[in-house]
Symmetry: C2
């Protein structure tokens, strides 16, 4: 229910990495002007409401009320509802992109490959199964007919970017003789979906279920890696 992913409620000034909006996280300096603060409050509120109720289910009045801002101010910052929506989604995509950025660190060391992949898979699955990410998927899929370019942009920037990194990684591992991969892109897709598919698809359709336990997710991650290695690792590497 109440997700408040983005820290929603409060304005910018809490040090949390709240700003899912247009503000890139790491480079602090959250625009200290009043106008910028209002803008951020609007983005945060819009993110909360859009993610909770979808595009069609959200009214501009709701957003303004949650942001504690007058409707006029909303329209001062964002020309119309569509632009506000795309601004919100773009912000989330940016956040997701930089999230994934740091993920592949520490891989490619020469430890136990299975161990490393399991570790990575668990993290990956845990990130993707965060409630607000799941909600985001639902909202974007539901609005894909109205915002095709936005949906495509999500697909190409958020998940596909991660898979490209996978592909590069598997390519390198194949070069080192630690994996047997002929099509790295395909291997990356297989790895990705072996880990994510089961819980993610269930989450798409079973809305009011409580999110699955960590242990369950870890199980899916480990089993996905097991299948992946069976297909892509030379016989020796177990």
């Amino acid at each position: 229910m109440g997700e408040h992913v983005v820290d929603a409620g409060r304005a910018v000034e809490d040090g949390g990495r709240a700003g899912v909006g247009t503000d890139p996280g790491p480079r602090a300096a959250p625009e200290r002007g009043r106008s910028a603060r209002k803008r951020q409050a609007i983005l945060d509120a819009a993110c909360t409401v859009f993610l909770r109720d979808g595009y069609g289910g959200t009214s501009m009045d709701n957003i303004a009320a949650l942001a504690r801002v007058s409707k006029q101010t909303v329209y001062k910052h964002f020309a119309d509802k569509q632009r506000l929506f795309t601004a919100v989604i773009d912000g989330v995509i940016d956040a997701a992109e930089s999230d994934g950025q740091e993920m592949l660190d520490g891989l490619l060391t020469s430890g136990d490959l299975g161990e490393q992949l399991r570790h990575y898979a668990r993290r990956h699955l845990a990130v993707i199964m965060q409630p607000h990410i799941v909600q985001m998927r639902r909202v974007i899929i539901g609005a894909a007919d109205q915002f095709p370019e936005l949906a495509r942009s999500w697909y190409e920037r958020a998940p596909a970017r991660g898979r490209a990194a996978f592909a590069a990684l598997f390519s390198e591992l194949a070069r080192q003789g630690r994996l047997r991969v002929s099509d790295p892109e395909l291997a990356a897709e297989h790895f990705n979906w072996l880990i994510l598919s089961i819980p993610l698809n269930r989450a798409m359709f079973r809305v009011d279920d409580e999110p699955p336990a960590v242990a369950e997710l870890d199980y899916y991650a480990d089993e996905g890696v097991r299948v992946f290695l069976a297909a892509y690792a030379p016989a020796l590497s177990r």
Copy 2:
């Protein structure tokens, strides 16, 4: 565009074979009364429009117009928009269920397992990637917040049913020593998603792409089976 998937009964007056005279359906008379014909026309129109525009994007006037029926008649047959929507989705689920029913015939013979699974996988993927099924997934996911029980019903009846059949099949194959499966449910999920995930998820987000070519789908099916067998087949069965 015009999918007209819906139910047993064909549409009313689609230009082709104007079957008002004698058109005995595949089985069971399609309710020859005027009222039943109107009802079916409404369902067909509603299916088209709901699938194209989603729940929120569809108006009852649109449906009535497309069905060439007065709005009053729509409300004579369906108490309100929600009930019409659930009737449409239920119809599609029923159709999908009986579609999948006949699928597992011919498996379990003692031919080449890889061959058989590849054949099956290709069919499965081709069915799921039909445009109206893909659209259905999108619409249900998008409306899942408003209709949680409907989304759950879809999940449990349409895809989960198929996976249960898989699981039983893999169980039997394991008993015969042709597969090495400890958790048949998990194996069924892995099989299912190894085949479907890549094109299906792309289709979720890339709305206006033309559907992938058959050869591409077959490639994904075959590669999915390859990975599956590597993980679940005793070393000999390649």
